[in-house]
C-alpha cells in the first residue's frame, strides 16, 4: 500500500539509467544566466513554450525553507530545467533523460530564500517546450490553530 519507497527506488534506477547513457550524471546547474526569462530563453533557444504538461510537486507552504522537496515529471521529456524565481540566483538544475531512463522524472531538495514561484521548463523529445510554475510560500510560522 505504501508505494513511495518503490517510487523512490524507481527514481533511483531512472537516475542510474541516465548515468549509464553518459548524457548527464549529476544535475547540472540551470543555464547560468541572470534572470528567469534569460534562463528560459537560453534553454529553449527562444522557442515558444506551452503552459502545462509537467507534473511539478512542491509543498504549498515550505516546512523548512532551507530544504524544500521538489519533484518534476513530464512523460516524453528529454530534459527538464528547474528555476527558483525568487532566489538571488534562480538556477537550480537541469535534468537530462537518456534513452534508457525509465521515466522522465526527478526529485531534489532546494533552498528558498522567500515566497516565490518554482518554474519548470521541459524540452520534449519532439523538440517542443512546456512550462509550469507553482508558488511555494516561505513563512515565519507560528500562530496557527
Amino acid at each position: 500500500m505504501t508505494m513511495t519507497r518503490r517510487d523512490f527506488t524507481r527514481l533511483g534506477l531512472g537516475a542510474a539509467a541516465v548515468a549509464a547513457t553518459g548524457l548527464g550524471l549529476a544535475p547540472r546547474p540551470a543555464e547560468a544566466a541572470g534572470t528567469v526569462e534569460e534562463a528560459i530563453a537560453a534553454f529553449t533557444g527562444g522557442a515558444e513554450t506551452t503552459e502545462g504538461g509537467i507534473d511539478l510537486g512542491a509543498p504549498e507552504i515550505a516546512e523548512n525553507g532551507n530544504t524544500v522537496p521538489i519533484e518534476v515529471a513530464a512523460e516524453g521529456a528529454a530534459a527538464i530545467m528547474l528555476l527558483a524565481s525568487g532566489n538571488p540566483s534562480p538556477g537550480v538544475a537541469t535534468f537530462r533523460f537518456g534513452k534508457l531512463a525509465a521515466a522522465s522524472a526527478a526529485s531534489t531538495r532546494i533552498r528558498l530564500a522567500q515566497t516565490q514561484d518554482i518554474v519548470a521548463v521541459a524540452e520534449m523529445k519532439d523538440g517542443s517546450f512546456r512550462k509550469v510554475s507553482r508558488t511555494v510560500k516561505v513563512t515565519i510560522g507560528g500562530c496557527g490553530g
Binding site: 500500500m1 505504501t2 513511495t4 519507497r5 523512490f8 510537486g57 509543498p59 504549498e60 507552504i61 516546512e63 523548512n64 522537496p69 515566497t115 508558488t135 510560500k137 513563512t139 515565519i140 510560522g141 507560528g142 500562530c143 496557527g144 490553530g145
Partner: protein, 560 residues
C-alpha cells in the same frame, strides 16, 4: 434529503418556549434529550463525528465568533457567515437554543438561560443514544483532542486518551496531539485501540508514509473507507522541533491516489476524516473526485446543514464538545444514494451525563481538584477567544503581558481553542488553563523593530487571508496589545497592513525603532520566560476583577 427539516422543527419548538425571556430552568425544561438528539433515520450506515474537543471533559461556555471573514471563493459563504446573517441563512429564530449554540448573538444573556454546553459525559450519552438506534454507527474523532486543559497538560493527554477509549471511536486524526512531542505521541499511539490516521504525515527524511492512511469498515452490508488527514501545516504553525522527523502538507495528489485505491478495494462510500480546516476541504472537494463525506475540523466551525461541493458533503461539527454530528448514509453497491445529517447541540443541562464517563472524568480530575477550582478573580466582561482579529481573552492576555513583562507591545497567537466566561463569573485557574494550556507556553520578552512587527503581521495575515485556501493555516490573526493597525484583507501580502500606531502615545510605528515586545507560544526552541498562565494569573490576582474595554485598535477593510 438533508435533515434540515428536523433541525428547523427543533428550532421552532424551542423558539416557542423561549420567546419571553424565560428563566434558565424553564428554557431547559422546554428541551428534551430526545428532541435534541433524535432524527428520522436514513439508509444503512451512520457516522458520528466529534472534533476539536481540546481536552474539555466538563461542560463549558463557548462563544462562537462574531467576525469570521472569508476571502476569494469562500467570501460570504458558510462558515464565513456570522450573527444575524447566520440565523437568517439557516432560518433560526433569534434567542432559540440553536441561535445560542451557533452564534454569538446575545451570548451572555442566553448563556445564563441555557447553561453550559458539552462535557464528555454528555457527549457519551448522545453517542450511546445514537448507538442504541444504530448499533453499527461509526464514531470518528477529528483530532485536537489531547490538548487544551490543565488535566491534559498535567497528564500528557492521558486523561483524554482514557476518556476517548471509553467512547471507542473507530479512528482519529490529529493536530495538537503532536505538541505533546513525538515520543509521547508514539507511546500513546502504540497502545491506541483504534487507528491514528494521517495519510499526509510522512517521514521527512525518506519521504515515506509515517502513519496508517485509512481504515476500511464493513457496516450495514456496505464497505466504508475512512481516510485520515492530519493538519497540513503542523511544522509551520507549531514547533517543528517537537516532531522533527515528520513532514505534513495538503498532499492533494496523495488523497486522490488513496480514494482510487480504496475504491479499487471495494469501498462503496469514502469518508475523509480531516483536520485541514473548512476552506481547505472545500477546495479539496472541488479537485478530488470520489469523496462522499468530508468530516471537517481545525477551524472550529459549526454548521447546521452540510455544505455540498459537487457530490461531496462537508460536515462541520464545531469544537470543545459543544456539538456531535450524526450523518446517516444510504449506501448500496453503486455508492451513496442519500444523506441525512443532524448537528446535535450538547446542552449540558438537558442531556444527562453518562454515569460511566462521569465517573472516569471525576477520577482523572480528582488529583487536580483543588488546583482547578482555585478562584483567582472575577470578570465583568464576557471572556472569549474566537474572532478573526481579537477576542477578550486575548485582550486580557495581552494586557497581562504588557503589565507583567513591562512591554510596549504584546502578541498573542490567533489560536481558536479556549472556552468562554460570562460576566460575573469567577476566573478559576481551570479557566486560565482552558485558554492557555499547551506545551510551549514561555512568555518571552524581546525587542523588535517596527519593520519586523510589520513583517510578522503581514505574514500571519496571509496565513489567514491568502485567497487560495491551500496557503492558509487556519488560525486567526495574531492578537496585538499596545498597538493598533489597519488591515485590508483583499490586498496581497505585503500591503494589507497599514497605519500601525503605538496606542500609548498615538504615534505611528517607526520601522527603524526597536520596541519591547512580549508574547507567548513561540515556535522557536529554547524560548525563555515564565509560562503564560503564571503571567495571566498574576495579572488577574492584581486586578481582582477584570474588565475588558471594547477593542477598536484594528480597523478592517476589504471584507465585504
Amino acid at each position: 434529503m438533508i435533515a434540515r427539516r428536523d433541525f428547523l422543527q427543533a428550532a421552532l419548538a424551542a423558539t416557542a418556549l423561549t420567546g419571553g425571556g424565560l428563566t434558565r430552568l424553564a428554557a431547559a425544561q422546554g428541551l428534551t434529550e430526545a428532541g435534541l438528539v433524535d432524527m428520522a433515520p436514513l439508509g444503512n450506515v451512520t457516522l458520528i463525528h466529534v472534533t476539536d474537543i481540546h481536552a474539555q471533559l466538563v461542560p463549558v461556555w463557548f462563544r462562537e465568533p462574531s467576525i469570521n471573514l472569508g476571502v476569494g471563493a469562500a467570501a460570504g459563504k458558510p462558515p464565513h457567515v456570522t450573527g444575524a446573517e447566520f440565523l437568517e441563512l439557516y432560518g433560526i429564530a433569534p434567542g432559540s437554543p440553536e441561535a445560542h449554540a451557533l452564534t454569538s448573538e446575545g451570548f451572555a444573556a442566553l448563556a445564563r438561560e441555557y447553561g453550559r454546553m458539552g462535557g464528555l459525559d454528555r457527549v457519551a450519552t448522545v453517542i450511546s443514544r445514537i448507538r442504541a438506534e444504530r448499533p453499527e454507527a461509526i464514531l470518528l474523532d477529528g483530532g485536537d483532542t489531547w490538548q487544551g486543559s490543565l488535566t491534559a497538560l498535567r497528564t500528557g493527554g492521558q486523561d483524554m486518551v482514557d476518556a476517548m477509549n471509553l467512547l471507542a471511536p473507530e479512528a482519529m486524526t490529529s493536530h495538537w496531539e503532536f505538541t505533546l512531542g513525538i515520543d509521547r505521541v508514539t507511546e500513546i499511539v502504540d497502545d491506541l485501540p483504534f487507528p491514528f490516521l494521517g495519510a499526509n504525515i510522512y517521514d521527512a527524511e525518506w519521504d515515506e508514509p509515517a502513519y496508517e492512511p485509512y481504515t476500511m469498515l464493513e457496516r450495514g452490508g456496505a464497505k466504508i473507507a475512512v481516510i485520515g488527514q492530519a493538519f497540513p501545516y503542523l511544522p509551520i504553525a507549531n514547533p517543528r522541533w517537537m516532531f522533527p522527523g515528520l513532514s505534513f502538507g495538503v498532499r492533494e495528489e496523495r488523497i486522490a491516489e488513496l480514494v482510487a485505491e480504496v475504491r479499487d478495494e471495494g469501498a462503496q462510500a469514502v469518508v475523509l476524516l480531516s483536520h485541514n480546516g473548512f476552506d481547505v476541504d472545500r477546495k479539496l472537494a472541488s479537485r478530488v473526485e470520489g469523496i462522499d463525506v468530508i468530516l471537517t475540523g481545525h477551524t472550529h466551525d459549526a454548521l447546521p446543514a452540510p455544505v455540498m461541493v459537487g457530490r461531496t458533503a462537508l460536515i462541520a461539527s464545531g469544537s470543545h464538545g459543544k456539538f456531535v454530528s450524526r450523518v446517516d448514509l444510504d449506501v448500496d453497491a453503486s455508492g451513496v444514494k442519500g444523506i441525512a445529517h443532524r448537528l446535535i447541540p450538547v446542552f449540558s443541562d438537558v442531556i444527562a451525563p453518562d454515569p460511566e464517563m462521569a465517573a472516569l472524568i471525576g477520577m482523572v480530575r480528582a488529583p487536580h481538584a483543588d488546583e482547578l477550582a482555585e478562584v483567582l478573580g472575577s470578570t465583568e466582561s464576557t471572556l472569549y477567544r474566537r474572532g478573526n482579529f481579537n477576542g477578550t481573552w486575548d485582550d486580557l492576555i495581552c494586557n497581562a503581558l504588557i503589565e507583567q513583562r513591562d512591554a510596549e507591545i504584546a502578541l498573542s497567537p490567533g489560536f481558536r481553542w479556549g472556552a468562554s466566561l460570562i460576566p460575573g463569573a469567577d476566573i478559576t485557574r481551570e479557566d486560565v488553563f482552558n485558554a492557555t494550556a499547551m506545551s510551549y507556553p514561555a512568555a518571552y520578552r524581546t525587542e523588535m523593530t517596527g519593520e519586523m512587527l510589520h513583517t510578522v503581521l503581514e505574514d500571519v495575515a496571509d496565513n489567514l487571508f491568502n485567497p487560495d485556501p491551500y496557503y492558509q493555516q487556519g488560525g486567526d490573526m495574531v492578537r496585538v496589545g499596545g498597538m493598533g493597525y489597519r488591515i485590508d484583507i483583499a490586498k496581497p501580502q505585503g500591503s494589507r497592513i497599514t497605519g500601525m500606531t503605538l496606542l500609548a502615545t498615538g504615534e505611528a510605528i517607526d520601522p527603524a525603532r526597536r520596541y519591547s515586545v512580549a508574547g507567548w507560544a513561540s515556535v522557536n526552541e529554547d524560548t525563555e520566560g515564565p509560562p503564560i498562565w503564571e503571567v495571566v494569573e498574576a495579572h488577574v490576582r492584581a486586578r481582582g476583577t477584570v474588565r475588558i474595554e471594547p477593542n477598536r485598535s484594528v480597523q478592517v477593510a476589504g471584507g465585504g
